[in-house]
Amino acid sequence: MDIFIAIVQILDSTIRLSVPLLLACLAGLYSERAGVFDIGLEGKMLVGAFAGASAAAVFHSAFIGLGMAILMSVAFAMVHGFASITHRGNQIVSGVAINFIAAGSTIMLGQAWFQQGGRTPALQPGERFEAIVWPGADAVRDVPILGPIYSELISGHSILVYIAFLMVPFTWWVLYRTRFGLRMRAVGENPAAVDTAGISVAWLRYRALICTGILTGIAGAYLSMVQNGGFVKDMTAGKGYIALAALIFAKWRPVNAMFACLLFGFLDAASIRLQGSPLPVIGKVPAQFMQALPYVLTVILLAGFIGKAIPPRAGGVPYVKER
């Protein structure tokens, strides 16, 4: 029974740790499916986390915080769009620039505004998203097997967690069942064809980037307003890049993205849980190995040793209208 409880706890923290990855990964899915590479996920998450925590602390409202996180993250996504869609700049360069600007400005503005060494004030109860306890969660807690699963795994998360997982079927629906999704996928594969059909390539890509901004904003808000009670400098700590890895791992598909993020979240949760204590068969696994595993797996996948990850064909190429 102890092992069962331990497994439920690991899975519970898997969910918590994979939520920011999942949101960022879906965010990347929108922009990359539309043919815009985005390695600025990390920066946009960071900006969202900072804007969310500061606005929540100043206005004493979690929802104003969330709104601000989305707004600032979308603003950064628009900078990326302005550089890479309107001015046909290099999308990778633009993403790198956004990561730097985000990393620097969040710390500096945080220090200038709140004078807590780059932190934002600790959020009070009403200013962060609280866990939602599902009806009957406490009552069934002692029921064997199903009780812990219901009360620990399913119940007791904040609203953003449920939003993140609902975004998976929603993204699937948008991508494969709406006109916008069809056009977005087309613009990522063959923008000239979309252009010929009389649809603006630039506007489509901008809309995809707005979706990216919204989702990275929520991801950032989750980091600073749910997982942590405030913004800490560099709090994304490479999650944007892991999300990018997950996106490749998922072969740019929403449902796969969820499983990839859960896998990477599980690796993270397991390495925290184990803390260097030995495993039954393998023996002691260094924590650094567990941390590097998502990246190693992605490299192996990208190299085509386990399946083949084929990116959207027009990805990374600015669209130039024929004249």
Partner: protein, 379 residues
Amino acid sequence: MSTPYAKLPAWADYGLIPLINLSVAFIVAGLVVVLVGENPFRAAVILVEGAFGKGTGIAFTLFYATTFIFTGLSVAVAAHCSLFNIGTEGQAYIGGLGIALVCLSLDSTLPWWLLFPLAIVASAAFGALWGFIPAYLQAKRGSHIVITTIMFNFIAASTMVYLLVGLLKPAGSQAPQTRNFVGGAELPKLNWVIELFGAKIRSAPLNICFLLALVMAFLVWLLIWRTKLGYEMRTYGHSPKAARYAGISETRIVLTAMMISGALAGMMALNPVMGDQHNVAIDFVSGAGYVGIAVALMGRLHPVGIVLAAILFGMLYQGGAELSFEMPSITRDMIVIIQGLVILFAGALEHMFRPYIQAIFASFSPKSVGMEAIKGKGA
């Protein structure tokens, strides 16, 4: 559809446009300074004075510049081959491992002039190896070099943390770093050169790696513009199709370019490790690899431009330290913002002002944007 933009005279292309882009980046940075409630002009004065006002400042500026010349060259060599090497950071980190192995085993037996060449070779070899794997995966397996090098940065970081808290750490020590190197692993300082000009220097880490960096800049120029290999690299960078048609082996060119790039990145580690810290510590690269991207873009991938851009960034690092001392609300993270803005305006938005400048040139003298400019004569 060849290029969406008409040609400008060379001096406008290589001088005016970068200057405008850079000015815009600094104007936006100035706005950030206003946002935190300080005077941007006073900040600029403090920054420049901190970097060049005293002999110690100049020595520190050049010390930082040394690091950035290496990483800038590394990014540039790959970029000439149209490979975006974001992995400079990781390659430099692993280069440090090579230096650590050489220094830990030989530092008490060899003098510096024997140890230094060995360390150069080791750092370059380790960096090149870390560049080789992504290059191989790109050339043979078709994985995207940008993604692979990002992943390799993280793998390098994990590997180094694993080694530095385990195997490389001396017994009984708590700090995650190697033991301090002694004797031959301490490179001669260059501070006396600045003192020749009458300035006083209190312990600055400027060392002979600066000269090595300049030599490397020259060698990179030689490689890119004066050798067959460089020509092939530029051909491949311009048009992989044309290169294939000309019988240039894609695999060979990608592998060579990335290994040279990785070697230059690895050599960056010589400067902080053997010139200053005398040990290899966790995260000793501290973002210098990413600065290399900004430096290479600002220097327009030319060694002379890169040396100048590296000195500018060295100035920002040194002056930034002084600035955060004088104005507490401006932390050292201001440099990171400026770095990002430079990458944005000199890199991603490099063509933003081009149409306007072309229009201005065309209204003054239509010839300057016409045939004569294409022949390379200029206005």
